[in-house]
Amino acid sequence: MVFVDNIVKDYGDLRAVDGVSFEVKKGDILGFLGPNGAGKSTTMKMIAGYLSPTAGTASVAGFDVQKDPMEAKRRIGYLPESSPAYPEMTVAEFLTYVAETRGYRTQDEIHDRLANVIIKCHLQTVQNQAIETLSKGYRQRVGVAQAILHDPPVLILDEPTDGLDPNQKHEVRNLIKTMAEEKAIILSTHILEEVEAICNRIIVIDQGKVRVNETPEEFKTRLPGSSIDEIFREITNSKAYA
């Protein structure tokens, strides 16, 4: 569903992403791990079509994100980091706006889509509240709601559980899991147990390069008996000081 081939992003002299390649199939939940500044978000932004890569290609459901950006974007649900939205809009207004830009034009269609995601993301109680008045957890769920609104085949979620309390984290993870069968999902996170809980593939990215690309089980056999946390530290630190 998602192919990333040798993608590179330079910011001036700094190479933020350095030849990253991977593939995500339908039914996969890919966990993107890496220290801050490793290039996780940049890679996701390039797949989502917000940044254009310096070199390399990415394609979504067969559409090159550079050559056919509109077709690719239609098939992606994207949750940007820290879930930006328009603070003065209410949840319902915001989701209606997203639904309209996603091509739903009749009242019935829009109402249908909204009702669906509002229930899935538990937003019933706040749907007529301005987004600026919401807590971090609700805002994050509005971001998730916006991403899954058009039931896209590909989901790219940049830290979807950031700022949620343990119960909400659990809920969002369950939501992601239930959608996984029909979709290809990429999510980035700093919470390593999350990867263990929901992902069936781990990519560790550090200093712009893919260091690890394997299943959680394989990942754990790297240092038998240690936690994912320890393995993560081992991989990302040894490279940094090598």
Partner: protein, 239 residues
């Protein structure tokens, strides 16, 4: 192109989601009508809106950058621009949607000043042709000022910087043909150069329309300028 509508809707009603839109409308109205009356709307004993037209470009200088400054810089500051450009919306549609929304907002502000036209027709017998050609000119001139503000807004995530820079540029293009600039430069620049610069003046082109003349050159001047700046706007965003 059918992606323009959702952007327009969001942006246009956005002006009224906070008090800012109402405040801008009220201030514009009070300032413009106030200046017109102060400048002798009643004393002149003429059934025309000349006093409004005299001050309109100068009021626009502040009012339009204030309307346009948030168009892009607000999205950049809050990060929502990332959301906007990962939705299936071509940059051209986003630029046009936002531009048209702000233009419609300015249209409301202009429509409110029609109260003075009604007063005029109550007091006297104005030439409606001249009044409408004046309004037509105002709407066109507003589009040109707004396209400049929109470009400035796309270049920074700071609304204040966007405002100040677009006021500066708007002042410059307005002054190109004015007596003020001519007096300053008459000893330095050649008359030919000043005439040439005068061709780019908002004031000159607008004034012909307030006299009831809708010249093709004036109309095309504003239209071409607007399209050019909106084009620049698209380029700025895509880089």
């Amino acid at each position: 192109m059918n992606q323009i509508a959702p952007i327009f809707k969001k942006e246009f009603f956005g002006y009224f989601r906070s008090p800012v839109g109402y405040v801008i409308l009220a201030v514009f109205h009070i300032v413009l009508i106030g200046l017109a009356i102060f400048a002798g709307y009643y004393e002149s004993n003429q059934a025309s809106l000349d006093t409004i037209w005299t001050f309109l470009p100068w009021t626009f200088l502040i009012f339009i950058p204030a309307t346009g400054m948030r168009l892009w810089s607000e999205e950049k500051r809050s990060g929502s621009i990332e959301l906007l450009f990962t939705l299936p919306i071509p940059t051209v549609s986003a630029v046009l949607g936002k531009f048209l929304a702000a233009w419609a907002f300015i249209g409301i502000a202009l429509a409110l000043t029609f109260s003075l036209a009604l007063t005029t027709s109550y007091l006297g017998n104005p030439d409606w042709g001249i009044i409408f050609s004046g309004y037509f000119g105002s709407v066109l001139m507003a589009a040109a000022y707004l396209s400049i503000s929109s470009v400035c807004s796309a270049m920074t995530k700071n609304q204040v910087i966007a405002f100040v820079i677009s006021v500066l540029i708007c002042v410059l293009v307005t002054l190109f043909g004015s007596q003020i600039l001519l007096t300053i430069f008459e000893n330095i620049a050649s008359p030919g150069l000043l005439d040439f610069l005068g061709n780019f003046s908002f004031l000159n082109h607008f004034q012909t329309m307030t006299r009831g003349l809708i010249e093709l050159s004036a109309v095309s001047f504003f239209v071409v300028l607007t399209i050019a700046f909106l084009g620049i706007n698209v380029i700025v965003l895509e880089n």
